[in-house]
Amino acid sequence: MPEIVEGVSPTRMELLRLSRREKLAEKGHDLLREKRDALIAEFLDVVSEVRDARKEAEDKLKEAFDFLIVAQALSGVEQVRQLSLMTSREIEMDFSSRSIMGVHVPILELENDLARKVTERGYGFMDSSAAVDRSARSFEEALEKIIKLAELEEAVRNLAGEVEKTKRRVNALEYIMIPRLKATRKYIRMRLEEMERENFTRLKKIKAMLERRER
C-alpha cells in the first residue's frame, strides 16, 4: 500500500483537487512515455550509425599511421616533424545544433573539403616525398571521419542522458506519484464516509433523546 500525500485534510475540496491532480499526472505520464519511446527509437538509430562511424574512422586512422611510419622511415622522424609544422591552416567549421525532442544534437559542417592538393599543403617539394604526401592525405581523410564521429558520439551521449531522465520521470509518475494520489483519494473518501456514518448515528441518537424528552 503506497503512502498517502502528507498534510491533506479529509474534505470534499481536497478530494476534488486530488482527482484533478491525478488526471494531470496521468496525462503527463502518457506524454512522457511517448517521448521516451520516441527518444529510444532515435537513440538506437544513432547508435548503429556511431558504431559504423567509429569503425571507419579507426580503419582510416590505422592506414594513416601506416603511411606515416613509412614516411618517417624514408625521410626521418625529425624531417617529417619539420614538414608537419609547415602545414597548419584554419579549419573552417560550421557549428550548429538541431533538436530531437528537446535534446540538442550538434551538427558539424566543414566549409570545404579537408583533403588538400599537394601544392596547398605549404611544404616544399624538395624536402618532402610521396610518402609524406600520402600520409598527409590519409590523415586529412581520417580527420574528416573523426569529425563525423565526434558529431555522432555527442548525439549518442546527449540522447542517452535525456532517455535516462525521461525514464526516471515516467517511473516516478507511474510507481510513486500516481499510486500515492490514488491512495490519498481513497483515504479521504473513506474518512468522509466514516464521518457521514458517525453523523448519521449521532443524529439518530439526538432524535431519540429529543423524543424521550417530549414524552
Binding site: I40, F43, L44, V47, V50, R51, A57, E58, L61, K62, A64, F65, L68, I69, Q72, V77, V80, R81, L83, S84, L85, T87, S88, R89, E90, I91, M93, F95, S97, H104, V105, P106, L108, L114, R116, R121, V132, S135, A136, F139, E140, A142, L143, I146, I147, L149, A150, E151, E153, E154, V156, R157, N158, L159, A160, V163, E164, K167
Partner: protein, 107 residues
Amino acid sequence: MIAVIGDPETAAGFRLAGVKEVYEYSDGREDVARVLDKLAKEEVAIIIINERLAAEAKNRDKIREINAKKRNVIPIIVEVPDKKGPMVKEVDEIGRLIKRAVGVAVK
C-alpha cells in the same frame, strides 16, 4: 576549432592534416588534465585525444567532469586510437550508455 592531444606520431600526423592546436605528449608525465581544462575554457569545438591518454585515471575523471559541466554542446571530446591500434576497453562507453538508456545491451 580543433585541438589534438596525443603522442608524437599522432601529433605529427594531425599536424600534417593541418590541425593547428596540437599538444604532443611523449610520456604520461605531463599534465594532460590541465591542457583539457584550458581547451575547454577556450571553447575549442572538438578535442581529439589518444585513447591511451584518455584512459589514465586522472584524465578520465577530467573528461567526465568536462562532459558533465558543459552547458553547450562544445567541447566534444573524441578518443581515437594511436599507432598501436584500438585499445581493448574495460568499459565500452557506448555500450554502457545503451545499457543505461534502454535497459538491455544491444550489440
